[in-house]
Symmetry: C2
Subunit: 350 residues, 2 copies
């Protein structure tokens, strides 16, 4: 019998950050597609849209007027999922109906005054300004002792539920530690307690030795397709230095992070020559929750597209009810991404 | 200060089947929507489509010809994610890269020879025939000692990644126990060991007393919106009797199950007067895996629509990176579903 080969045979892979196993079917790319084809929104937005609630000088839902900002602009979401003034309380009926009050804050962060420019189209300096706002917000929000976790993220593109095309991200902070963060804390703590080093330091070292899943690298960060990815072109940016959160970035690291963010998102746009949809977000240690020496800062990118600009991977029936599943190998996806230019296709064409 | 109220204030609820907590923001329904609007496929299919690979007498991708079947028709998926002849093997590099070979089988089950009829449009007898095929397939697949779990499910509608509009379901069986089933086994076992009764018996009794989240009920089953749902109109069908799998259905139960399936899916279609998209699937005990007295058979429905036939709930950024979140309460959704007719709108109009 043929030898087992992860590039050919169906198998499961362990996500070392969550402890979950992912089903991989590397042979399944060839199946025909008669299902849903996405329509993409037009990619020729003006620099200013008078009806956009994120453009400078415009009026928002609550009647307030946006400042004429130069770089980025943050405000509390007019329709926050989490609120600061929720009364404390809980419900428990025989352990069968359990609920707990949750406090928090939801903010919106416009990446630039220009309605048309997405992250890969900003200059490295423009991206550094965004990173600086993330750092400031993290610091301010963490000063509230009721907050335990601060999730910084971006939903890019209509396909990812983004409700306004003006490039922007969000920050949701909560009074309890969210599920994914609890899982990653648990796995990282187990490893740290056993090895005295962070899980991602050792993992990154191995990946840098093997090179097979590395997409980009600079002095302070690497972008790679993790061995256990579930989304077709999922990647992760990992810091080479082991630290817990954004507040520990040196100014060199800030600059290197902006650089790798620009290059990675440009590669994504270059893949199908469209503004590539994804949800991306930073994972870092909980706050106001004691020491977390096990935590190693990183950022995930979860993009839905699979075959083309209009056919995505559906995480549906089997994936919802049983187990996450993917149709291509991580190695195959890394090779594709590595081969793409680091310069945005719109810049190349100028 | 106001008292904490689960119908008004942001809170988390415990999913007793998985052990995970869900973020609920019942106040968030009012936010405006400028995001993606779905296009629905036309809902006037012919009874027979010469190009459909599920219609009787047509030729499939592998060249085989479908029989002229009367009720339902099962075959092995031409593009299976799991295969029976995968070589055994594993990979383990320092616990950081871990993979294991996985065997299994993927089948497709056409619900009826008629290309145009979805589950709620079949007669109760027609649905009983589908249930009988599920039972037969479960029995046959479980006879293979390498199989540990058999997932029966349906992806309904393009929005749910369904790749062919001819009404059909799938069965994926695997040599390991999938993630969601492992979580539900764990939670049910803990409860059973402590109380000597199944978790869902006690839960269902409580729900039947409270009535607030019950949508439908007959002699043998109830359909309800679980306290911890995450999808806007998510429901679960639970058997009143505590048993482990489909093979234990009495003939009365088979009939009652067909009845509740028809009524629940008709209510779904009636909600927005469209063929309502969802992923649905049966959860039952693992096979060839010793006794599982803790397991209580049930079926989940995960429908994506939120506001209308064309605006769905996006489980994106925060939900992927941090924690599942919903914008309406379970009680609100149950009330909406309860109020709808049990007769399909197309039947009413005849
Ligand atoms: O086999 P199908 O119907 O083409 O595929 C569909 O269902 C599968 C199981 O939920 C998913 O993995 C696919 O992403 C989805 O498109
Ligand atoms: O606040 P927005 O951008 O309108 O909403 C978007 O992001 C949120 C956080 O990921 C999701 O809960 C919503 O489903 C999505 O549409």
């Amino acid at each position: 019998m043929e030898a087992f080969n992860v590039k050919e045979h169906p198998h499961t892979r362990l996500n070392i950050l969550t402890g979950d196993w992912i089903l991989v079917s590397p042979h399944r790319t060839k199946r025909p597609w008669q299902g849903k084809v996405e329509t993409l929104p037009p990619d020729n937005r003006p620099s200013y849209d008078p009806k956009c609630y994120l453009c400078p000088g415009n009026t928002r839902a609550d009647g307030s007027v946006n400042p004429n900002y130069d770089h980025s602009f943050v405000f509390t979401n007019d329709y926050s999922a989490l609120l600061t003034d929720t009364p404390d309380g809980a419900l428990n009926v025989k352990g069968l109906l359990s609920a707990k009050s949750e406090k928090g804050i939801c903010k919106v962060l416009s990446f630039s005054p220009d309605h048309s420019l997405t992250l890969p189209q900003l200059s490295v300096e423009g991206i550094e300004k965004v990173i600086e706002v993330w750092i400031d917000e993290f610091k301010n929000i963490a000063a509230d002792p009721t907050i335990r976790y601060i999730q910084i993220f971006e939903n890019k593109g209509e396909m990812m539920g983004c409700s306004n095309p003006h490039p922007h991200g969000q920050i949701w902070a909560s009074s309890s530690v969210p599920l994914e963060i609890a899982k990653e804390t648990n796995q990282q703590k187990k490893y740290f307690d056993e090895h005295g080093k962070s899980l991602l330091s050792d993992y990154l070292q191995l990946e840098l030795e093997q090179q097979e899943r590395i997409v980009l690298e600079n002095e302070h960060f690497a972008a790679l397709v993790p061995f256990w990815v579930v989304w077709p072109y999922e990647t992760m940016i990992v810091s080479k230095r082991h630290f817990q959160n954004l507040l520990q970035f040196t100014s060199d690291e800030k600059h290197a992070y902006a650089q790798i963010l620009k290059k990675l998102t440009a590669k994504y746009d270059n893949l199908f020559e469209i503004s590539f949809p994804y949800s991306a977000g930073i994972h870092q240690a909980p706050v106001n929750d004691g020491d977390h020496p096990e935590w190693h800062w990183h950022m995930h990118f979860y993009p839905p597209l699979l075959r083309s600009a209009t056919v995505k991977k559906f995480m549906v029936g089997y994936e919802m009810l049983a187990n996450p599943q993917r149709d291509v190998s991580a190695e195959w996806a890394a090779e594709k991404l590595r081969a793409l230019s680091e310069t945005h296709y719109k810049e190349t064409r100028k």
